[in-house]
């Protein structure tokens, strides 16, 4: 056991390389005997907790970022899917859904462009008419926008969405893992601390008893 002294983290790691916290079965054994120092191990625990906390806050930030990104992708996807459905609705009338629309716009719907109101800036909206289209432009970031055919755009967005959701799931898994390690470290701290308090008290009582018997 003494080899683990000063090494509060174990070699074991989770899939993303976060080290596992050790579990202390027997405090006395872990510290290396009834007269062992507690300052050093306690300090090591504290350092390890600080490291876990640091990872925790980093991952929490990533989580927030992903949780913002996912709805954005979903919004774009639902718009592109709307465009696809609208287009398909015009070429095939097998669906009742689409019959509805055709009835509605009786003659006009084939050629009538879709009217939209979109946000130009905060609180400022403008109207635009969408011509029937099979191409959309996706903002890829880094000041790049590419044109895609609608099915390709949907595929791309879906794969992005899946990727983001998978990353989010693994970030959440890591966060939960970190939470467990933090809890373990806190329990370890409390136990070593309590062990020390108890030892001091016992020693004091022993000393008092020895003093009394020496007096008597």
């Amino acid at each position: 056991m003494s080899s683990s002294l000063g090494k509060p983290l174990t070699e074991e790691k989770n899939p993303r390389g976060i080290p596992k916290a050790p579990f202390i079965e027997d405090v006395e054994k872990y510290l290396g005997g009834p007269d062992a120092e507690v300052e050093e191990p306690l300090k090591n625990f504290q350092d390890a907790i600080a490291k876990y906390r640091y990872m925790d806050s980093n991952l929490a930030q990533r989580r927030v970022g992903l949780e913002e990104k996912i709805p954005d992708i979903k919004k774009t996807l639902s718009m592109v899917e709307f465009l696809r459905d609208r287009r398909e609705g015009k070429t095939s009338t097998e669906d009742d859904d689409d019959l509805d629309i055709d009835e509605d716009g009786a003659e006009g719907s084939q050629s009538k462009p879709l009217k939209t109101t979109f946000e130009l800036n905060d609180t400022l909206f403008a109207e635009a008419e969408l011509e029937d289209t099979d191409t959309v432009y996706l903002w890829l970031g880094a000041n790049v926008m590419l044109s895609y055919k609608i099915p390709a755009a949907i595929e791309l967005l879906k794969s992005k969405l899946e990727g983001a959701e998978a990353t989010l799931a693994s970030v959440i898994e890591d966060l939960e893992f970190l939470r467990e390690q933090l809890t373990m470290m806190e329990v370890n701290m409390a136990r070593v601390y309590n062990w020390d308090v108890k030892r001091r008290k016992e020693n004091r009582l022993k000393a008092e008893a020895a003093g009394k018997s020496a007096e008597g």
Binding site: K75, G105, T117, E119, M184, K198, K201
Partner: protein, 131 residues
């Protein structure tokens, strides 16, 4: 977990075993998980209410007036029947997410209750599992 009180210092009976540690871990994990589910449910509830309000409004809407329906960031001018169809779909989507989250929240709560019983049973007042 807090430090022991003075009078409990001599209490040797509460040796923490690996199983206990795992239970404590699971409890704290579930605790974080349920909090995130609760926030998600709160958001969903608001969305659901907004859609319910919307469906009330649309019942009173004029058949000939196009409805401004929000898809993504833009509002589409849709004929009423089409808007109602979309609304129905959106409502169904939210409803199913809402109920699946509620189910997992209930499961977690049940598990936490069991863990609480076991852990309080063993550690009594030396452990604090409540807010």
């Amino acid at each position: 977990m807090r430090m022991l009180e003075q009078e409990q210092e001599n209490d040797d009976s509460t040796e923490v075993t690996w199983e206990d540690q795992q239970r404590i871990n699971t409890f704290s994990k579930l605790n974080t998980r349920i909090k995130s589910i609760e926030t998600q449910l709160e958001v969903l509830k608001q969305e659901k209410e907004a859609l319910d309000d919307l469906s009330m409004e649309l019942e009173l809407a004029d058949e000939d007036e196009p409805v401004l329906y929000k898809v993504g960031e833009a509002f589409l001018h849709l004929p009423l029947p089409r808007a109602l169809k979309r609304l129905e779909k959106d409502q169904a989507k939210i409803e199913s997410r809402f109920s699946s989250l509620t189910v997992s929240a209930e499961e977690i709560e049940r598990e936490m209750k069991l863990l609480k019983v076991t852990l309080y049973g063993k550690f009594g007042s030396s452990i604090n599992l409540d807010e």
